[in-house]
């Protein structure tokens, strides 16, 4: 392993500019003549818009324009769309309601945009926005997803507020397996709704060049090409080649910046209308009201087992809240990213899952770190843990009896696991976490008046999204391959243009590590270019832990082509047959001789083209590739959480955390550990602290960071991490992906630990001190064994 190659803990190249404040985020971009946009937003969850009177606002100082949904419709700007088709059990397509970028006739959640004010300054835009008079006729709000079907109908297209009633698996066979079961474990689960809270709020800056009829959008997006495609082809803003989307530095996304939101559409449209650049930057409270939320499932789940603790079948019924409109990928999250993972790490013969997706008068819900897989893992790992307790088995023992042990393994829910060793990660985690010493620690805690519990989560996820043909057959409107272009400059330095997008992941470092190792050049001679549709060929962006497995595989393919071409050049330089040229450690050699040429010399010769004629070889050294994965990848592992609970206050402290993950090949262990840390923090946040709350009228109760609890450093212990490795067979580097694992594994581990300590299974997330204290009033805590 070289000091900067694959496997080295190279310091992040991008951090110098971030730490010294030199990052360039959307809001940092300033265009000549720029104006500011402020949105007039609905204060009601559900209401008819009787009248909008903008006359006073239009006369306010500095106002350039006040635009409404009627203007938008007048200009024939199309609706936002959801790009993944799901069909109900009865074969009918999902009920996608119109989602105009500015509400027309009706508002459907608090924060729904009704009008936009464009003014010279932000202050003037705010002042004028307050003067826009909107008369509402308030309608009853639908808030609780479990009661959505009987609530006031929100969209004409969707009776009973139902988007689809979908199922996966064999209902009959599953029922039959249940009929023969010795034991059935049943759980009611609410997967709490989360706000994504990226550090950088969303922002958009749009500019129109009347000379070329060109629109440019700077935007906080994880996938600039997908944004451009949707805004061009579906919203109909401009032809694709007349729209440039730039995602400059983006400060975190966690999924929330995948989607195409009303604000960027409105800024583009307004910029062309007023012939001035238009900028909008969300503030934190606006972010709570308008960023797509995550999770929000209500589930009943059952697990059937035989007398030996062998799992026979699983039955799951979930109601998924998709909010007021169907966001870009919302339909896929509670279906193909959820039910397909219900087999967990286990060999389960039959699984049947039903998912009803519903509209409510809340902000749209879509993918959030893990997207469907945390919800699935929570169902599976809670069921397994509770089943073990009910059967009087140690939870690791029940897991071992049911682990998938041979590969490939076809689950009853589509996925074909290709590689893994679930025993290995469980065993290693139990060693690192000193499970043997747990009872002693529990007695010590008891002496201090504390309850101690231990909880496991042996999770699996499907990453490396995704084989395009498979995704297409499941309803995806796009392919999920990735692209790369490797440009070797005449001096031998390299630019990699990637369709992946880094918004915290560290691609500028990890991708450069791959190139440095492969071409044998210093890592500083490599730069990674991403996030600009004018620079980079079409690409699919970053989400679903896909940038390593898919994005880097595309780079590998392009590098293969570069090497092949460079060998041709070297053959001319070294006057040898192409087949005799070998490439290693940055040097081209002729087999069996001492003749050689350095990579840089070959690059120069490719461009000066003095050693070959145009008839023999094209000059230049630049290759493009599109890589489409042949399977998902299946990162998996074991997390063990130990908690201490203050009996008097109910406060839970996480005192021990062990995570052993199998991510396949690890490019940069420091970055991977950082991803695990962040993921666990988010998972702990879900389990203990976070939860979006709307009141019965659809008003957001958790509308600021003073109410919505984010995990902080003091909420977390120092993590004990370990790795096992089985390579992903489906991609050239053997990478599985690591970006979401922590958030997927953690919630079940925490709740399993708390319920172990309490001796009751009845605890909802977030398990606040109050909730745990209340549960304690009903429970008989488990004593040390």
């Amino acid at each position: 392993m070289s000091a900067t190659g694959i496997g080295a803990a190279v310091r992040r190249k991008e951090d110098f500019r971030f730490i010294t404040g030199k990052g360039q985020y959307t809001d940092d971009v300033v265009r000549p003549g720029e104006t500011r946009a402020v949105f007039v937003r609905s204060p009601h969850a559900h209401a008819k818009i009787a009248k909008i009177d903008a006359s006073a606002a239009k006369t306010m100082p500095g106002v350039v324009a006040v635009l409404t949904g009627a203007d938008l419709a007048g200009d024939k700007i199309g609706n936002l769309i959801c790009g993944w088709m799901i069909h109900s059990k009865d074969g009918t397509p999902m009920k996608m309601a119109p989602h105009p970028a500015l509400a027309s006739g009706k508002v459907n959640h608090v924060g729904d945009a009704v009008a936009v004010v464009v003014a010279e300054t932000l202050g003037q835009a705010r002042d004028a926005a307050e003067k826009v008079k909107v008369d509402y006729e308030v309608l009853p709000a639908v808030v609780n997803p479990a009661k959505a079907k009987s609530g006031t109908q929100i969209h004409e297209i969707a009776p009973k507020n139902t988007i689809y009633e979908w199922s996966l698996g064999d209902a009959k066979a599953t029922d039959a397996a249940f009929a023969n079961a010795k034991h059935v474990t049943k759980l009611d689960i609410v997967n709490n709704r989360l706000a994504p809270i990226a550090m950088e709020p969303r922002a958009a800056l749009a500019e129109y060049d009347a000379g070329t009829d060109q629109l440019t959008l700077w935007n906080t997006t994880q996938n600039p090409h997908v944004s451009r495609l949707v805004i061009a082809a579906f919203v109909g803003m401009a032809p694709e080649h007349k729209l440039r989307v730039i995602a400059p530095d983006v400060g975190g996304g966690f999924g929330s910046k995948i989607f195409i939101y009303p604000e960027e559409v409105v800024c583009l449209w307004a910029a062309r209308k007023v012939r001035r650049p238009v900028k909008w930057t969300s503030d934190r409270m606006e972010a709570f009201l308008t960023d797509a939320h995550g999770r929000d499932h209500v589930t009943h789940a059952e697990l059937a087992l035989d007398a030996n603790g062998k799992i026979l079948a699983m039955r799951v019924k979930t109601i998924a809240n998709l909010g007021a409109y169907m966001s870009t990928f919302s339909s896929s999250v509670p279906t193909y990213l959820y039910a397909t993972l219900l087999s967990g790490q286990y060999d389960i013969p039959q699984i049947y899952c039903e998912v009803d997706a519903v509209y409510t008068n809340t902000v749209p819900v879509d993918a959030y770190r893990g997207a469907g897989r945390p919800e699935a893992t929570f169902v599976v790992e809670r069921l397994v843990e509770v089943a073990a307790r009910e059967l009087g088995l140690e939870p690791p023992e029940l897991r071992k009896r049911n682990f998938v042990k041979s590969f490939p393994h076809q689950t009853p829910v589509i996925m074909a696991y290709d590689a893994g060793d679930y025993n290995a990660s469980l065993k290693k985690a139990m060693e690192i976490g000193d499970v043997k010493g747990f009872n002693k620690r529990k007695r010590e805690s008891a002496r201090n008046g504390k309850l101690r519990g231990i909880g496991y989560s042996t999770y699996i996820e499907a990453c490396g999204l995704a084989p395009s043909q498979a995704a297409g057959s499941l309803g995806a409107g796009v392919g999920l391959w990735e692209s790369a272009e490797v440009r070797v400059n005449p001096t031998g330095s390299v630019e990699v243009l990637t369709g992946s997008h880094s918004h915290g992941q560290g691609h500028e470092t990890t991708f450069a590590q791959l190139v440095s190792q492969r071409l044998g050049i210093p890592i500083d001679n490599v730069s990674i270019v991403h996030g600009d549709t004018d620079k980079v060929q079409f690409g699919m962006g970053t989400y679903g832990s896909r940038s390593g497995a898919v994005g880097m595989s595309a780079i590998v393919k392009a590098l293969d082509k570069v090497e092949a071409k460079a060998k041709k050049v070297a053959a001319f330089m070294l006057e040898a047959a192409e087949g005799d040229i070998e490439f290693k450690d940055g040097k081209f050699t002729v087999a069996g001789t001492d003749k050689s040429a350095a990579f840089g010399d070959v690059a120069l010769n490719a461009y000066i083209a003095h050693k070959f004629t145009g008839a023999e070889l094209e000059p230049g050294l630049k290759e493009t590739s599109f890589y489409d994965p042949t399977n998902f990848t299946f990162p998996a592992g074991c997390h063990i959480c130990e908690v201490e609970i203050d009996r008097e206050t109910g406060k839970t402290d996480i005192v021990n955390w062990t995570a052993v993950d199998d991510f396949g090949t690890v490019i940069n262990p420091m970055i991977v550990e950082g991803q695990v840390h962040g993921g666990i923090a988010q998972g702990v946040g879900q389990a203990l602290l976070e939860g979006v709350v709307y009141d019965a009228n659809g008003q957001l109760v958790t509308g600021s960071l003073m109410d919505y609890t984010m995990p902080r450093a003091h909420d977390l212990p120092s993590f004990n991490l370990g790795f096992t490795e089985t390579k992903a067979p489906s991609n050239p580097l053997g990478i599985k992906g690591c970006g979401e694992a922590g958030a997927i594994a953690a919630p079940a581990a925490v709740i399993n630990a708390i319920t172990d300590a309490l001796g009751t299974e009845q605890i909802a997330m977030p398990a606040t001190a109050n909730a745990v204290w209340s549960a304690l009033q009903r429970a008989t805590p488990r004593a040390a064994a």
Binding site: R126, G691, V693, M706, D707, T768, A769, N770, W773, S774
Partner: protein
Amino acid sequence: MYNFTFHRPTTVRQAAGLLARNPEAKLLAGGHSLLPVMKQRLANPPALVDLSLVEGMSGVELKGRSVVIGAMTRHADVANSKVLQEAMPGLAMVPGSIGDPQVRNRGTIGGSIANNDPNADYPAACLGLGATIVTNKRRIAADDFFTGMFSTALEEGEIIVKVMFPIAKKCAYEKFKHPASGFALVGVFVSKRGPDIRVAVTGAGSNGVFRVKSFEEALKKRFAAKSIEGMTIPATGMNTDIHASAEYRAHLVGVLARRALAKAAA
């Protein structure tokens, strides 16, 4: 934020004069309560009178049997004051528990008390020690000062200059933090100064800070956690929100009072 005029007087007299001439003006201390509501456009003062250049308004001093803290003293400076840590470490626990470092380095005792947020920490210390709030016009006993959530005995244009805390031999503060904001979900300050025993609670009551007479009575026998073992207060009148029910808050009052007493004895 809306536009406003900004004044920076250098004496309390000047500040009082500015307030008299601009009845809707607001005093600005650390700005950590006032500026957030102005940014949200929930408060709209046409003028701010910034106290940060007024001389003699900050510092922690020992005066006779009292600790005197200037109204503009930052939470961090009170928490780290050598004078206070020697004279009455139990009081230093209060500013030390406020928010995060940024808040402690900006927020002031005067601002906190004038604001009387029902979850703020200082009101518990003031009531729990029987402090005297000294304004440019008069002295107000803590028992008369806090009149309900976000409301105080301060009159229009009245400026808190300092707060005098009588030194209690035994006192301590125990706080259960609101998980999101860091304010007190419940905070209990206990003190014993001669025969005067006080138990003051913040964060719990829907009417702001209050004393728990039943605990104070029970503690007269012996100022120790044991004396109020198993005691609790009724849940009526307690706050309920997404982080804590009224029952839970009432329960915490007993738990935290016992913990504070244990700390005070240590």
